[in-house]
Symmetry: D2
Subunit: 439 residues, 4 copies
């Protein structure tokens, strides 16, 4: 393995006393938190696309990074060089997982046959690198949105041949994921939406998407893939409206097509906020609906209306997220994938380390703070007390269906109910949270 | 009937040539559009609350209106005086329908018994006024959000006694609606949401809400009410997050509790935009999901983040909405209720006429423009052509389930698919729309 | 002094080891940070309006608090009872300052004479209470937005008599502030804006506002008031657009009317975010424009589009704000006023303590973290290095005006400039910040 | 001239009766409106960049357009082929003006010398094409944001050499504009802002920007350019915050550096809405501040948080804009430049005609509707009446400075002012506007 990041050996835990910027201050993989190691809790993953494919472009600027693995005229050579650097980085970052799109790791080629061949070659290479480094695959996915053929959507395209192309990519990306021992397979509807309702048949496109997902589920069993299928919600961008808008929208979609037991959600922080929700809201909603799967950990900018995909750096925000996850029992096949990119100005070779180190420490510290919230018990108790009357007579009779609406009304009248107001205690609860975070 | 608006007889259609600001320029109730009268298409309704209950307050200002029917020390006298003015106005505005909350028309009183008595007295009065004026009830509803007892929600309250109070109001509001021949009954979750997840059990509150709606459906059949049950989506305000966020969210909720055949949605323009959607999107989505019911026609301000509830005045926006409705076959029990209020500065007694006249003409003209979009046929054809291949071999085989994902992939490979790009033609379609609106 | 909060003596610093929720964990008034006590740095102030005047209403709900001092039929008795509780609270919260609007402390009365008399009576009472408790006045202001006469603005009203009424209030509120030793006087344009441009003469209203501010400056000198005049930016709400939109807008306004040396800004966190800016941005901008005055410390909700006025609880956000303030030399006459209110559900008598304690500890901890950012020196150095070339030849020649545009172009050509890209190092800097906050 | 759009001769006015989609329905260049031809009023311009340089990429998709003039390996050949198509299009679209950035028309080359040479060659070609077609230059500008050297800004870059590069481009772009008879020169601060305050010296960057603008003004006089200098406001994107945020912000900047008589603003609709303002607001504000210059006519999407740069199609929105412009006397050197691009899916060669035809008719119809608003006179009168008291005694005394604040207060007391409330009449005024638009 050629060494691109030759100034770094590996990022290790050194604790808060260290002045070494290339060390973890909070993430100690072996440390036990509530009975599991931090590594088991957090299941960090690094993404191929932002970290090794994105060239530093934006809508108003050309690429600023000039990566050597983007310089060859031969796409397959580039792909191999990129894999070298990627696994060097995964290893040096000391994370257990990575994640990729098909075309991140293998060139598209000029025909479907070439695509298949390239992906096959690269899958073998990735497998070898996984074995060499011990890095595992959190999930694979297919990029069905960059190629102009997907301009009007993939599964929801007005042209069934485009649907077929997407199906082809998904079949091969699922195979690759399966071969590489991926723990999940993600479906990301990057253009499953519309630009204008004027040219769109909503009902038709929804049927197509439903059918596509049903076929994917069927295919999962056919190939014997034991991982979890995940859909990633995003409300818009680049489309005007995307059908996988948010967790609640996906839940309705899954219910309509009988898929709510088969598919879960991969929630991204920045997509949550673009949809008008807090990250915590989306996670808590998915848990309450039994479709929580995995996280794309990043952050948006509260003042900006597009996907900035910055590295998470808010312990305050992510403590609340980790609290929801801990309460629900933690990740099963999912994990914390950093769907995040360094800024276009961050052209120093080692900026990508700073980004990931900061993110990992943020999530690790958030886990610790969330554990303190659990251990403090007051939050849990306050909530339990607040709803306690639903376990008593009237509450139970209502929820168990023992009273009709009219009987409830009659009960209210007879007892001339005047419910006693109780404080929601929001300020007090917020202080308890800040105590868990800041001592 | 005492006449409060003594300068106005009744608003009639005078056509675009008139200079009379107190006449309709576009709304001609008897005019036939695509086989139905405009009155039948539009089913206008005026709301009691904004028009006769709101005193001109805002979060930073006290009431500016000084309505005479808010001046008596006796709430029931006020209610009666208000009913007089309301029906005078409904009649003079020449609309077929009105809509109300229980506490808009009858005082809450100091006990449940008083509430029931007051509502009973006022229901009789309203019935008499309906008969006198010919104005009918589009829908009734219960206000389960203003009284401090509902600060933490009604059906989703942590206290089952509050749930019971809400049930009581709904029973009596449904009875009143039934007696008054209401064509729909609306459930509006004004506080069914949360302020902070820290004190909230999402799963529990969702169960409560599901049970409440099931009880309401059951009660509808029990009392023999033939109208439609409607839920009104709103994403937030005054809560941080409301469970009836938008159409897609409500669809998932209805599916979870087996209610998708029983309850439809009453969509408000301003709530759509607060949820990050266009009004057209919400209407089209509800139609595509078979849960479209009725409209609260108003507008928000694109630069403001709260419910401004202004009168609709955009023909451009509402033409697209009426186009979706016309394509779907039009309203059945639903209609166009103006959930809109004059501005706090609009203290002239007749400003409320200007508001409603402008709104009615906006929607009437939107209907006519939408009819032209239908008659032009090009829009419909373009969409049909765009998806035409889904009725051919590959498309049919996919949608009918004749091919597995792998068979589709194999088909793509064998045929080396290179789907031909086709224009989405958005600019051309937008020009067709503007031709329909502006000639 | 009658004791309303009879379960609390006074809030004191007990350090992070305490389990007492009614103690400061981080705010130790006497602790020295960078050469000054925390009390001197932070200059906390509690506001009269949210804490003692707001009844727990919102746009969809009636008051939930039932304060005893809002129960009398005699407004002046209420005002006196309110002053008792207010000063009890200021004292028990252990803050050095408070702030008020004229009509928070004294009833408006039914005529200008009554208003003047009431304010005079109450000013005497407040003065006495200040002397008894040692609590001082951070600033006074006049409420020229709640009364319906101000529906179309105060200084910018189309009616000069309304301008005159506002002038009257400001004269008397300035006198009261002066008498009470207030350190600043704030002008808050709660309705200085428009609802619709259709009825608005922007140029005229701007002239009126400019004249008003000039008169206020003149009056300040006339009465010998030595405090600072402040304008508080807010972009909208309740208006569609407010002329004091943000810091940059106010700067342009001050420049136009020659007031940039006379008036500074009082920046509120929630107003900053409603204007599309971060709180840090607004503070840093005001400092860079030499118009920074004081802060209304609170927080909005990133998902909500109105002024939620919650208590600040983000150390992450406020550390950045305090860092800007420390770098600029700290407050002079300004301070940290909590323009924040407990939630409508927070009906427990002591919730208002939890709100303020959490806020005070948040800001105190933010100060300490900001001091660490200063002491770390790396942030400062990085910025200094980044711009260092502006102190060398080319940079100096440009900024000192020694080169024309064409000479610069010629220089570039002759030297065939190919500037070397340098990393913006954002991720690295963010890690340094998190180290200051979280260790 | 080779003909790329070989199916189109030229777009002409055919009136509303035509069914020809390649004709103007509302824009009749010779038609007289309020004493001037429509061509003189509207001064349409087509932009080079979106129409001929943008390849159909977005942040998640590669180019969909495959333009022949982007296919050669020789940049100068491409530039010449592009100029051929561009002028064919300008001519066929029948607009009087176009606009460009330096690098839209000429390749950047690999050195400053190459850049200068290329621009010089292409300027000669453009001049010839202007003479052949009669199309004139509305404005030129320099692209100082795409090249990675500008990643941290141009004039505001921490590196003075980058400032010098930007100065070089501006010198040559101004020369080209001057040579081509451009009527304005635009400065567009595409990256004059920051990504994070942590690495930014706001005061320093503002000084740099001020100096840059002063040098540009000086250079304008030096080269004898008689056109208008314009700055284009934009709040953000791609930066986190841009210094030319909105009209009010630019006004303060111009005042600080003594430039308010020298530089005006070029307002873009989509930038206005990204800044939280209506397009009308920004135009009206610029007029009220005497810095209105020109327009970038386009539209954003009210639900999306980035610059979608769609073609304007709202007559309702643009009528209000044209009304402000007509009231102010109309454009002088400015005009209506379509800073708009077809959608990525609009891959039909003639979609770009549909886009521009719809936009031109939208603005033409908006002009006619605005003229009706002027002719109706009621709007103007209502506003005049509303402020009429400012021309009477009290109003004049206040504005002319004849009364101090205390004298005004004394006047209020003596007269016990109780200003009479007057309706803002918003609904009535909105109906008048809709009458002007829809008859």
């Amino acid at each position: 393995m050629k060494h691109y990041y030759d100034q770094i050996e590996r990022i290790n835990y050194e604790g808060t006393q260290t002045n070494n910027p290339f060390a973890f201050r909070h993430y100690n993989p072996e440390q036990i938190i509530l009975g599991k190691t931090m590594a088991e809790h957090l299941r960090f993953s690094i993404c191929y696309w932002h970290t090794f494919c994105w060239a530093g472009t934006d809508m108003f600027g050309s690429g600023s990074f000039n990566y050597p693995w983007q310089s060859s005229a031969d796409p397959l050579s580039n792909a191999k060089a990129k894999a070298d650097v990627a696994f060097e980085f995964f290893y040096k970052m000391n994370v257990p997982f990575y994640a990729f799109h098909d075309v991140d790791v293998a060139p598209e080629g000029n025909s479907i046959q070439e695509y298949i061949n390239n992906l096959s070659i690269m899958t073998d290479i990735l497998l070898e690198k996984q074995q060499q480094t011990g890095v595992k695959l959190l999930w694979g996915t297919a990029n069905c949105f960059t190629n102009p053929r997907y301009a009007a959507g993939a599964a929801t395209n007005p042209d069934p041949e485009v649907f077929a192309c997407a199906a082809t990519q998904v079949v091969h990306a699922m195979n690759a994921t399966h071969k590489l021992g991926g723990q999940n397979y993600v479906l990301w509807g990057g253009r499953e939406g519309y630009e204008t309702l004027l040219n769109t048949n909503l009902r038709q496109e929804r049927e197509q998407l439903g059918k596509f997902m049903q076929l994917v589920v069927e295919n999962k069993y056919k190939i014997g893939f034991n991982g979890t299928l995940l859909i990633e919600p995003k409300p818009q961008e680049p489309t005007k409206h995307q059908y996988d808008y948010d967790v609640a929208t996906i839940y309705g979609f899954l219910k309509q097509f009988g898929l709510e037991k088969e598919i879960k959600v991969n929630i991204e922080a920045n997509h949550a906020t673009l949809a008008g929700h807090s990250f915590q809201h989306e996670v808590a909603s998915a848990i309450a609906l039994d479709i929580f799967g995995s996280l794309d950990a990043n952050r948006g900018d509260p003042q900006l209306g597009w996907d900035t995909d910055q590295f998470p750096n808010s312990v305050e925000e992510n403590t609340l997220v980790m609290y929801e996850i801990l309460k629900s029992g933690g990740f099963t096949t999912g994990g914390l994938n950093f769907d995040a990119k360094i800024r276009r100005q961050s052209i120093d070779k080692y900026d990508v380390f700073h980004g990931h180190i900061g993110a990992i420490d943020t999530m690790a510290l958030s886990l610790k703070c969330a554990a303190k919230m659990i251990e403090d018990k007051r939050l849990d108790q306050k909530v339990a007390e607040r709803y306690a009357d639903w376990d008593k007579n009237l509450g139970k009779d209502i929820l168990q269906g023992n009273m009709s609406l009219q009987e409830i009304a009659q009960y209210s009248l007879v007892n001339n109910l005047q419910p006693k107001a109780r404080s929601g205690a929001q300020e007090q609860l917020e202080n308890i949270v800040n105590k868990a975070i800041f001592g």
